[in-house]
């Protein structure tokens, strides 16, 4: 019977087309659609902050240079990963990530919680020449990151992300270029405005060691130092679990 049916289906190109589309749609719909509704995946922690313009520029550089090809940003819920990298990652932590950078290959260590693990000068020296800091490293050197950062695209980038639902307001978009500069100049004039717009949680430092210049290095290091610090939800959860008898 079924064979007979199929025998006839083979004579109809549009029949095959319809059957293929039908068969190939079910799995995706069942697995993907619920993710847009259930609490576990749509919840956003109250303390989650968006990236500052400088950090966002750093994220773009992270993508541009393909750091994600060697580094994951997803600590799995396995004992050894928690011991090595810190609390396992929660869905809510990447709620603002367009796109997510969970990665698929660990040629280098996971970076989901690398923020604050090293000093800025360590990060700068490591990016310029990893083997100067870690002799056995196989990470590529990125000497060109000391070039000036192009901030022209930042307002447009923030505006686009705001249209996708991220809480960037009009003042943050308009001030994006100034705020990128201000965040890397701890003694500069733009600090007040920066903190009005982004609060006092983001770090204010000359990330590349030179407050006089705004470089790609400033942006990338600011981004790396922000990883894992945008919400405390994961460490709170781990603490709670540890204190339960």
């Amino acid at each position: 019977m079924v064979l007979r049916l199929h025998y006839n289906l083979e004579k109809l190109s549009m029949g095959l087309v319809g059957a293929i589309i039908l068969a190939a749609s079910v799995g995706g719909i069942v697995e993907i659609a619920p993710l847009f509704t259930i609490d576990e995946t749509v919840e956003i922690p109250a303390d989650l902050r968006v990236l500052t313009p400088l950090e966002l520029a750093g994220r773009e550089i992270y993508m541009r240079e393909g750091c994600y090809a060697c580094h994951s940003q997803m600590v799995r819920s396995l004992a050894d990963e928690i011991d090595r990298y810190g609390p396992y990652s929660l869905a809510s932590e990447s709620a603002y990530d367009h796109p997510m950078l969970w990665g698929s290959k660990r040629t280098g260590p996971d970076l989901a919680r690398v923020g604050g693990k090293y000093s800025d000068p360590w990060q700068v020296a490591h990016l310029i020449d990893p083997r100067a800091v870690v002799p056995a490293s196989i990470m590529p050197a990125y000497p060109w990151l000391m070039r000036p950062l192009d901030t022209a695209g930042l307002p447009g980038a923030l505006a686009t992300l705001a249209r996708l639902g991220l809480p960037y307001d009009a003042a943050m978009i308009a001030g994006a270029k100034a705020d990128a500069l201000a965040q890397s100049r701890p003694d500069g004039p733009g600090i007040q405005g920066f903190q009005d717009r982004h609060g006092d949680r983001p770090a204010l430092r000359a990330f590349d060691g030179d407050p006089g210049r705004l470089t790609e290095m400033d942006a990338l290091v600011a981004y790396l130092q922000s990883l894992g610090t945008q919400t405390a939800a994961a460490s709170a959860l781990l603490e709670e679990a540890r204190h339960e008898p």
Binding site: V17, V26, G27, E65, R76, H98, S137, G156
Partner: protein, 544 residues
């Protein structure tokens, strides 16, 4: 290209080429960033090149007009095979270079464009889309015409598809070199390239259906089911995964509309089904045509081919979440991915078994004919890597293998052992026919290629298995005091010999592919007048 077109078609082609040049000019003029300007210039140059090529031939003698309808349209296939081999050199060359950089990181020149992170997607896109995609399109035209016993529905669309597709590939890989990327694995190309691909794909699918509509056989042969599944589902995956909001229409940068865990699920729904429908379904179509043709034996079981086709189409779509075990993706989705991955073994082995059983009774030919041996080895590796895939999808196994080189080993046992081998088998079957010859110009070189390919694959895959399992174990080993035994760096250092071996295996594989390219060139240059006696006769058709 132009010899296969009539004068009227050359005029239409000229119009399209002018259109492409204008599009390129507009992009280059409007663009506010480097990547888009360069891509506009590439389109402009290509458009102008085509204008000269077609314009120059506008009034040349057209091919014997009415007679044309009595032959298959194989000029596009020939071009597609040339591009397949060209992309093989680019993609595998980039693969070897990035493999070498992991062993020899100081080798990175101090220019951004040659850095590992930018070249790795050049390898994956160049090899999957450039090498694999051109092979799929080129063979699909060949197979479609012969199984339908009909000429392609028109003479221009196949060129639009092939040239447009290669423009997409070129835009993609040059974009990564300039740092323009969406960073979604296997979907790194930016929004305008993605839109362009959708247009090309619609023309491709329309051509497929229009040609099927002309078929002289009531039944659509199984190879075509697979090619159709490939075209349709890849379109669906590509569109959904790439929905993005450009920052400006005059710039390359865009943001995907998907975020966080939803993005992860959609990305791997796409990513794994790129494996399923690009690197598997299309190539099964190739296998189902070329294996019976070359071995002279019909497919062993018709029922099994129905079972495995629908099994693959239905099951595969569910398995993407096995890339996200133990992550922040809800547990039940991971479980579904694991369950379907294991069930997938049934249709996969049904296909592999069907292919191998088809060879029963032709083992003598497998021994003597290196081309048929390529196809046999492809079927064997297909069986092995689908088994490995189902195994790696099991949650506890995945806890060890994920993020390690075991995955890379698994990927390459599939791509080198299965995808590349079946492509070479198909190429060695088609090229002599294109040249009107009995055999390749250098039959001995096929034998050399075969052994280089098999050895290279084994060296690569075995090195990566060792690397991955070592890594996975080092990361999770605790000492007696309950502390982790190894630092991450120690696991990096342990990889050095394997990375070296992998580079050597890759070099052997590339050497074989280079021999193939030279052999094809020699064969096509030594072409004789096309001998149509061995080809499947075209059904008589009304004049075009």
């Amino acid at each position: 290209m132009h010899p296969s077109l009539t004068n009227a078609e050359r005029q239409i082609g000229l119009g399209l080429a002018v259109g492409l040049a204008l599009l390129g000019l507009a992009m280059a003029a409007m663009a506010r960033d480097g990547a888009m300007a360069v891509h506009g210039a590439i389109a402009l140059a290509l458009g102008l090149g085509l204008v000269f090529r077609l314009g120059g031939a506008l009034y040349d003698a057209a091919p014997a007009g009415p007679d044309r309808a009595a032959r298959y349209d194989d000029a596009p296939t020939r071009f597609g095979i040339t591009m397949t081999l060209a992309w093989a050199m680019i993609g595998m060359g980039a693969g070897i270079w990035v493999a070498a950089l992991l062993y020899w990181p100081e080798g990175t020149p101090p220019w951004p464009a040659t850095s590992f992170g930018r070249l790795r997607p050049v390898h994956t896109t160049g090899i999957i889309f450039g090498f694999g995609g051109n092979a799929l399109i080129a063979t699909s035209f060949w197979v479609l015409q012969r199984t339908a016993r009909a000429r392609l529905a028109d003479a221009i669309s196949p060129w639009v598809v092939l040239i447009g597709y290669n423009l997409f590939c070129t835009w993609a890989v040059t974009g990564y070199l300039m740092g323009s990327t969406q960073s979604k694995e296997y979907a790194e190309a930016e929004w305008y390239a993605d839109l362009w691909l959708v247009v090309v794909w619609v023309i491709y699918f329309a051509l497929y259906l229009r040609t099927l509509a002309r078929r002289a056989e009531p039944h659509i042969y199984v190879a075509n089911w697979y090619y159709m599944a490939f075209i349709l589902v890849v379109a669906m995956l590509h569109i959904v995964n790439n929905i993005a909001l450009p920052v400006s229409l005059a710039g390359a940068k865009s943001y995907t509309v998907w975020a966080g865990v939803q993005d992860a699920m959609i990305q791997w729904w796409y990513g794994h089904n790129a494996v399923a429908f690009f690197l598997t379904a299309g190539f099964l179509g190739m296998l189902y045509y070329f294996l019976p043709v070359r071995s002279g034996r019909p497919i062993w079981s018709y029922r099994l081919s129905i079972l495995s086709f629908w099994g693959i189409v239905f099951f595969y779509i569910w398995v993407g979440s096995h890339h996200l075990h133990y992550t922040a993706l809800p547990y039940w989705v991971q479980t579904l991915g694991m369950t379907f991955s294991v069930m997938l073994l049934v249709p996969s082995w049904a296909s592999a078994g069907n292919a191998i059983a088809t060879l029963n009774g032709a083992w003598g030919r497998v021994r003597d004919d290196a081309t048929l041996r390529f196809m046999f080895v492809a079927a064997v590796f297909y069986g092995l890597s689908t088994f490995e895939g189902s195994f790696l999808a099991i949650r506890p196994v995945n806890s060890l293998s994920h993020y390690t080189d075991w995955t890379v080993g698994h990927v390459h046992s599939g791509t080198l052992g299965w995808v590349a081998m079946i492509i070479f088998g198909a190429i060695y079957t088609i090229v002599p026919q294109l040249a009107g010859r009995e055999a390749m110009a250098w039959p001995k070189a096929v034998e050399w290629h075969f052994w280089l390919a098999v050895l290279g694959t084994l060296v690569y895959v075995i090195a990566m298995w060792n690397a991955g399992i070592t890594q996975g174990l080092m990361w999770r080993t605790y000492d007696a005091n309950g502390a982790l035994s190894y630092s991450f760096l120690q696991s990096v250092q342990a990889m050095a010999p394997y990375y070296l071996l992998r580079t050597i295996g890759g070099l052997m594989f590339l050497t074989g592919a280079a021999i193939c390219a030279l052999n094809c060139r020699a064969t096509l240059r030594a072409a004789t007048a096309r001998d149509l006696r061995n080809d499947r006769p075209l059904a008589a058709q009304p004049a075009e």
